[in-house]
Amino acid sequence: MGTARMKRLPVLALLLWVCAMFYVGIYLFVGGFLLVRLEVNKSSSCSDSLPPGTGTQDFCPVEPRFRRAVVLIIDALKIDFARFDSHNISPRPFENKLPVLEEMKSSHPAHSRLFAFRADPPTTTMQRIKGFTTGSLPTFVDVGNNFASSAILEDNLVHQLGEAGKRVVFMGDDTWESLFPKKFHRSLPFPSFNVKDLHTVDDGILKHLYSTMEGSEWDVLIAHFLGVDHCGHRFGPNHPAMADKLTQMDRVIRSVIERLQNDTLLVVMGDHGMTDSGDHGGESLKETDAALFFYSPTPTFPPTLSQAEPEVVPQTDLVPTLALLLGVPIPYSSIGQVILPFFPEESQASGVQTYLSQLEALWINAKQVNRFLETYSHIAKDIPPESLSMLREQFSFLLAEYSGMVKEGQAASPTLVTALQSYLTAVRNVCRATWAKFNPLKMTAGILILTTSCLLCLAMSEMSEMVRDSFMPWASLVVGAFVGGTVAAGQQGSLGYVDIAWCLGAAIFFSQLLFIWRLCCAKDNGGGGARDSGPRQTGWRILPTLSIPLLVLALRCTSLLSDSYVIAEGRVATFLLLSLSFYIPLHLNWDGLLLPFSPESQKAPGLLPPPPLPSSVIRRESLILLACLGVLVASLYLSLFFHNCREEQGTCDPSPFLLPLARVQDSRLRNLHYVLSVVALAAWNYLLYWWLRHYGNLNSPGPAAFTARWPLPLASICAGLYWAVSSTPEETFRGLAELIALALVALPRIAFAFLGLGTTLLWLSPLTVFLKPRQVACPQGPTPLPRYRASTGVSPEAELRHLIPQLYQRMRRSLEDGEPSGSPEGHSGPAMEAYGLGTVYSAPLVLLTGLLGLGLLLLHSEGMALAFLLLLLEAAALLHLHASSVTLESLQGPQKEVFSVPWVSVLLWDLAATQFFHATGHLPTFPSIQWDAAFVGFPKGHVGTLLPGSLVTLNTFSSHILFAVGCPLLLFWPLVCEVRALRQGHGASKEDAVMEMRLRERPQKFSSALVQLAARCFFIKGAQVLASVLAAAILRRHLMVWKVFAPKLMFEASGFVVASVFTLIAFTLVMRVDFAVSGMFKKLIPEHSR
């Protein structure tokens, strides 16, 4: 005992290294794929003379049109909100709520104008603020910075206003404060992160807005209201709260207009729109089209024809317009185009006005854009040369035209205005097309490393026998570190800086090469060793054993290359999962293992020995398999009702269970949903409890069983109460508002604390074994009897079923040897019963999954409890299906002691994770991220970004996490179910069921089985990451790349990272249990007896 011990640390190190390979590959690729647009760190100034300069005062005219401006930004003010239809008799909550705009338009057509303000994606607030202050285009990678916005370094409007001596007063969304630190004359920021809070920011603004306007301490006033956006996020546009909010905004606009002075321009604008569910971030028209409304107390706009539909203005155009109207230089990097109606068509030199004419404004604008383009093309080479030369040609043509016109003193020709406009539009389009730029070298390197990592995993899984304790990646690591260091030194020497991505890439790549080379050597050498024919055969046997699961995996990977299939991913995963689960019984039947053959047909070949088991065992096992298949298929089908909808899916209604209960209007429906959720929660608990009791793990006096008995149910009760409190409408219990607020903070935190306590206890003492001397007349004092007895009585069979006393043969023998005096008639019967020893490895894993699942469920909306219950059922069905098929194969096939998990099961497991990612209401798109998760237990918002970020990550990848933690169960489950088959087969006469102790008896095989299982998991996950990486790389100019493939890549990659981390945690827990079991045996067996 204790001589052959599993090497725990090397196995973990190996797995960690495998994960690191994938991380580096992903890091390299993403570094090359999601590059930021280069920022030009130059600023415009009044003294600039724009090349080809004629005058020196291009930017700063003598007389600006307006001296002051009030900019009211109403977040998510969709263009639909600004429309007014007097014929609409029964307007919806968001319709006709801003009548002031229409009134101004009809009563003062020369003073006001409404535009549709088209934002560029991504339509998130920070990117939009960046966009309409710099006049440039945001890039995709900025999306990640939304909650950690850093200062804008590019030239921008706020900077220019400050340089011009204008006093900029800001109030509202605190994102501005982080984007423009110390740029404002006066700043009144209010916290913006709490989406549930509709009023703090708006009320804060209103407290100061009017008094500030009436004072004289300002030139430009920016007020950013967040109420409409938060109302959309919380209730959606179709909710009475939205009507209230918009009516409030209507009053605000009226009050501001009353207080306007003649030299002041009022701008009312939304930064982006919202979808019908109130979310934003993507690029559908509903999200991009906001309202833009101008009003000036003096007549400004030319008379127009009846304006049925507001004209569309790109968001970048605001910057040059405001700059020229206020008499400040256009920011250097702006690529916008002035909004023409602001400028008179003819330069009225004779008149009183000395304002810029349309032509002059456009010419300044074109020169500025041309200057930026020249500067940019000097520092970066990403704009295609042919488009650049085309633009240059266009500009020189315009230059000739314009100077000719000025020389001859002609009147401005409309054709030149049009030509200038089309030039500016062309520049914008070229820039839009270019600024998704890639680094092909890094992308290729990333793909290469991911590919070799996948291959290495495949090799490891097929030659896991060879990956032994002695065969650990130390040498590879050393070589990798050496190569990485060399590359770093080389870079330092030649380039002067170190690009960490390349060093890591080189290090990983060389260590991989060395590992594969050593594996090949070991294979050749191993051939000469104990099994001379083994390795060669394994090499050849890979393909046929892989075929069907490999085909399904290939289909899954191929589906990632098509946008239609990515959009329909939830259905695709279900389809493949279903097909693969039907494949298991079909395959078994094909091999003749599903049903027992009658003796005649068995005798016929004359080669196989007659099966040692009666056919009833096989029939029973087959029935279990088919029943599990039924449960699996049923839960798969039911889980389809929990899917969310992408905007690309036309006719699709999101699941009603996704709505937080607080947003369900009908109180009966709400109660029904609540009851269903609580029932699901109770069932979740009961199933875990039942399983642990069934295998006798609850008898243990240790902390792990305590966890199952107390913290888990208590946390569930907290969760149920929390749902009840959070779903009560605010109006119902006005008197108890404080108590409710307290409960909203306290209940989830208590639940998390219980779960944390449970996890800690589980980690500290993961053993769920209860030891009981069998002899009643045992001299060593009275031992408490197990609490959980079969309810039907104490017949031996019932005891076997409910208590599963595990008798560990060697342990017993050792005990007898050690204490000959203790049990004189020890040889007649076992000396010790160990309840729950048979599931000693899987019980902590099951418990951990249960704890984690409960915690993750708390981060979801209440209705998802049903989806989580389905997840548990499906996982259990999958495990049983796997166990039954393995048992059937081993019962009838050749008896072999190999703990190998077949590919089918691992692939099923992984597909189930993907499928439940969708069935818990998630989608691989950014607008569908469930931000509400960040406020569970923190309804007031957060200070940092780490905690909310991790909560949202946990919420998003909860299905990946649960299935990753449960991954080692695939190895244990056939052994757990072994007792069932054995009881039927061998009867009571044969040896006792050893279950998971079988693994402990063969530590070598245990560790190689673990390595194999992990390698297969990582291969399947890695292949999917590789496929989505390839999709992003190959289709990087595809129409859908930013809408479908890039988000999919981000989700797949982050899903891999999260899942692999939790897989490692699960494997570490297995090692921890192994360590504890060793400790227990050491304690039981006195030192001298060994």
Binding site: A568, N589, W590, D591, A604, P605, S616
Partner: protein, 254 residues
């Protein structure tokens, strides 16, 4: 076709859940001569050719008779016409002409009970396929008729042939679909055509999510077409495959 086959029915004392008759089809003698082989394969190929041509006829004849007939436009008409013609040809070939299988008892009551049980099994199989297709993601209530038509077509391609060749015995069906289960060239051909039809229908579901906006992407056209093409290719493949693998295919006699 020589009188080389018999059917022996063995009723074993199995528990209640094994209430089905265990039904074995065995050959009296092992087929030894190559000539016999070729004869068998040729017979099978001609039967397959008849079935395949019936599918073409089922497509062509309504085009002449029915007004405004098109495979996409009046899809259900096409589906049922194909199903009916395949069913007729199968029944005519296998049951009435006695190709491949000759019943032991020839009494009328036996035939009638067999026919009733067969039609019951066929109906059950239609519902079974319907449920499977819905589980695979077909709409539950809307276009239920279309889904059921697909189920009928699949049953015709698979269950009906099983009924014709093996009789109404689930045990025998399950036995046939195992590696050593085939006991005649007809069993092998049944394996191949059934697998091809089901795989064809399965593959037919693949183009549905694509955004090509083609008329054949409408539910269930791609699946019925897939099943039909799968069945046709199965009919073509089976004789060749058996011919090429005739060395490996040694049917066990009892």
């Amino acid at each position: 076709m020589k009188e080389t086959t018999t059917v022996s029915c063995i009723t074993a004392d199995y528990p209640w859940y094994q209430s089905f008759l265990i039904h074995f089809i065995t050959w009296k003698e092992t087929i030894q001569s190559r000539a016999m082989w070729d004869h068998e394969i040729k017979g099978m190929a001609s039967v397959h050719a008849a079935i395949a041509s019936s599918i073409f006829m089922a497509t062509l004849v309504p085009a002449v008779i029915v007004e405004k007939f098109s495979v996409y436009g009046t899809h259900l008409v096409w589906v049922y016409s194909v199903a009916a013609s395949v069913a007729v040809v199968n029944i005519a070939m296998f049951w009435l002409l006695g190709v491949g299988l000759v019943a032991k008892r020839n009494t009328l009551s036996y035939k009638v009970s067999r026919a009733i049980r067969s039609s019951l099994y066929f109906t059950l199989s239609c519902f079974f396929y319907h449920i499977i297709v819905i589980l695979y993601g077909a709409p539950l209530l809307e276009s239920a008729l279309e889904t059921f038509s697909l189920a009928v077509l699949l049953s015709t391609f698979t269950t009906l042939r099983c009924l014709c060749l093996l009789g109404p015995s689930v045990q025998a069906w399950i036995r046939v679909f195992s590696r050593d289960g085939a006991m005649s060239v007809w069993d092998t051909s049944l394996q191949i055509t059934t697998a091809c039809s089901v795989i064809g229908a399965w593959l037919g579901a693949f183009p549905i999510p694509l955004d090509w906006d083609r008329p054949w992407q409408v539910w269930p056209i791609s699946c019925t077409m897939g099943a039909t093409f799968g069945f046709l290719s199965g009919l073509v493949i089976a004789p060749f495959w058996i011919h090429w693998h005739r060395k490996q295919l040694t049917y066990k006699s009892k």
